[in-house]
Amino acid sequence: MSEVYEEKDKYLVYRIGDELYASRLLDFVEVIEYTKPKIVPNMSHCFSGMINLRGLIIGVVDLRKKLDITEEFSGKPSMLICDTEVGPIGAIIDKVEYVVPFLQSEIQDLKLERKMDKTYLKGFFQYQENLITVIEIKSFVSNFDENTHSQENVA
């Protein structure tokens, strides 16, 4: 093993429902304790509301709703803060797992199952018996209106 991993090759692995997902670690600003978001009217259904992050008001997106995950989660969820083009956005997930390095070349393209729009879904990688889905988190969380599933598949 002689691969050299740089900071940009590190991925944060997190759990939502039964699945593991990973996104580039550099896209996150921080992980914070869950605080119940306050309602913001007239927003889309996966937009949970807003929180006060040290004086900054930021919107929060529920990734469970965005991914249409219906199973209940009994524990206390976590919140990942991502810095997107439209400002910081919080993402609600079930649990932060670990950070692993992975080269871009090691991420397998998805051929069979294409449930989600390809703009967000970057592929898979195998790690410790788990198949982990790689999500481009910045554009994923900042597009809270769009349907998660690609149009092709709906049709």
Partner: protein, 551 residues
């Protein structure tokens, strides 16, 4: 020279100073290895500075740089060779321009003396001489100049520091957060310490609060800029237009030192320009009319800024013909903007000119009748929580009084509760708060009769959560006035008054039309500031139509 636009000159100087830095870098590159690429770049810079200096009226700078440009051109065309002496000249020019630009920041009419430089490098035909000139001598004038440059340097060092507003806002955010923590601490003190309040703790808490307040106001002052910054533009607008229209107008400017938040000042430029142009175009009469009216041929526009209470007032006064009430009324009726004109006060009649679709100009001039009317002025002012009042005497003149808050960052607001959530409403759009029994409310007609006046009514539950039912038998109703439209807005409960520190929200909140900003509530939770004008705009006409249909 006095008519040079300060803002234009400043932006030229900002750009030119960057170019000079590049100039210096290129000179150093040329010293190492002269190349065509560097010469071309040098030429572009010289040409650029020459062109833009002339564009802003600094002809002397253009003249000076023209000499240097000639030398570069001859180098570019291989008519002469690059040598140490030329480099020395380029660097000398750099020095002169740097000093020149620095003094220009203080004095737009300044012309830097460069005769010595010319004598050293150019012959009498202004052609570059390649031989070393005779000995150099520093004369008294040179000393005087360098003293002047030095003194400007000292002043500028103290006065100007360009800081991005982002940094200042970041600082303000942090201080705001600090003061919230402070108030949480104070609130919980009683429960923490019970009756045995330690006087040391109390006094240090009080002191802490005082210091926080002071830090806040100091940091806040960083955002403030004197209104004088836009006076020059207004004066320019008046002068330009009066020249076009052949009117002679004298401008008087007062209170240029009054300070106002930079964001607000920027927003004020357009509405104020519109008002002064209107005064020139429609207010001040032409020579003949003024003669007939026994007025001095020179019209006068006075702009005055005053600090009043928490805000700032800007008065724009002209000694023109004043507003014609009859004409305004006729026009408003003709355009279908009013139906019942009886009993309208003078102020109310003047207020009609702010309605969308109103324009007093009988002919559409390319001056004031560009489709943007006074309603745009009103709208912009509302965005910054400003108000406008008109006083006018026919034949004597018109005075616009604009009242604006000094800062957008703090709003006096009312906190209300709607469906268990707290929302913040800016107080300036509210006229009255009344408790109304549900049975008195013609709920299903979406109408509330307020002292004989029929107002369209909507409950915020409907706006914010698409919920129509509300259970209490008495609800508070807020009477608001936006764009001259009065509307009644129902809420569940009034929580209290609060001075809210406004936090800008990320753009993705824009899709919720009812929100204009965010704030941190006294509890430390985030709160939303409602955009009452947007709510009234969305529902007013809809409800009026609905009522007319059902009536």
């Amino acid at each position: 020279m006095s008519e040079l636009d300060l803002e234009l000159v400043t932006s030229f100087l900002d750009e030119a100073t960057d170019l000079l830095t590049e100039w210096e870098r290129l000179c150093l590159l040329l010293e190492k290895a002269p190349g065509a690429q560097e010469l071309n770049a040098l030429f572009r810079i010289a040409h650029n500075i020459k062109g833009s200096s002339r564009a802003v009226g600094l002809n002397e700078v253009g003249e000076f740089i023209h000499f240097i440009e000639d030398v570069i051109v001859s180098l570019k065309d291989n008519k002469s060779e690059f040598n140490a002496r030329k480099l020395k000249m380029f660097l000398g020019a750099h020095l002169i321009l740097s000093d020149w630009f620095m003094v220009l920041r203080m004095e737009t009419s300044y012309v830097h003396p460069y005769e010595d430089f010319l004598k050293e490098f150019f012959n009498e035909e202004k052609v570059f001489i390649d031989e070393q000139a005779v000995e150099q001598h520093e004369d008294e004038k040179g000393e005087e100049v360098s003293q002047k440059v030095q003194s400007v340097k000292n002043v500028l060092k103290d006065e100007v520091l360009r800081v991005s507003t982002k940094k200042i806002d970041g600082l303000l955010n942090l201080i705001g957060e600090l003061s919230i923590q402070q108030s949480i601490l104070e609130n919980s003190m009683e429960s923490l310490m019970g009756k045995n309040q330690d006087s040391l703790v109390i006094s240090s808490l009080n002191l802490g609060r005082k210091i926080t307040k002071e830090i806040y106001s100091t940091a806040f002052g960083l955002r403030m800029t004197p209104v004088g910054g836009i006076y020059q533009r207004l004066e320019r607008a008046i002068k330009d237009l009066s020249r076009d229209l052949g009117k002679s107008i004298e401008v008087e400017l007062n209170g240029s030192e009054v300070e106002i938040d930079k964001t607000i000042l920027d927003k004020l430029i357009d509405p104020l320009t519109h008002i002064v142009r209107n005064s020139v175009d429609h207010g001040i009469e032409n020579d003949q009319e003024r003669k007939n009216a026994n007025k001095s041929l020179v019209g006068k526009i006075t702009i005055t800024s005053l600090k009043e209470g928490d805000g700032v007032e800007i008065h724009i006064k002209d000694d023109g013909k004043g507003l014609n009430q009859k004409r305004i009324l006729e026009k408003a009726i003709e355009k279908g903007l009013v139906k019942n004109t009886e009993g309208l006060t003078k102020e109310e009649i003047f207020g009609l000119i702010f309605l969308p679709g109103f324009s007093t100009a009988e002919r559409v001039t390319n001056v004031s009748g560009r489709g943007v009317g006074m309603d745009v002025v009103m709208k912009t002012l509302e965005e910054i929580n400003g108000k406008i009042f008109i006083a006018s005497d026919e034949g004597k003149g018109t005075k616009f009084k604009i009242v604006i808050p000094t800062s957008l960052s703090i709003v006096d607001s009312l906190i209300v509760s709607v469906a268990q959530e707290h929302y913040v409403l800016p107080i300036n759009v509210l006229q009255e708060v009344v408790d109304v029994r549900l049975i008195d409310l013609k709920k299903h007609d979406s109408v509330y009769v307020h002292r004989g006046e029929v107002l369209p009514f909507i409950h915020l539950r409907e706006v914010l959560c698409e919920e129509k039912e509300f259970e209490t038998s008495i609800i508070p109703i807020l009477v608001t006035k936006v764009h001259g439209n009065r509307m009644a807005i129902g809420v569940d409960k009034i929580i209290g008054q609060h001075q809210s520190v406004v936090r800008t929200l990320s753009t993705y909140f824009d899709r919720s039309f009812a929100i204009s900003g965010g704030t941190i509530l006294p509890s430390g939770e985030p709160g939303l500031i409602l955009n009452i004008s947007a709510i009234v705009e969305k529902y007013f006409n809809f409800l009026m139509k609905k009522n007319e249909a059902s009536a």
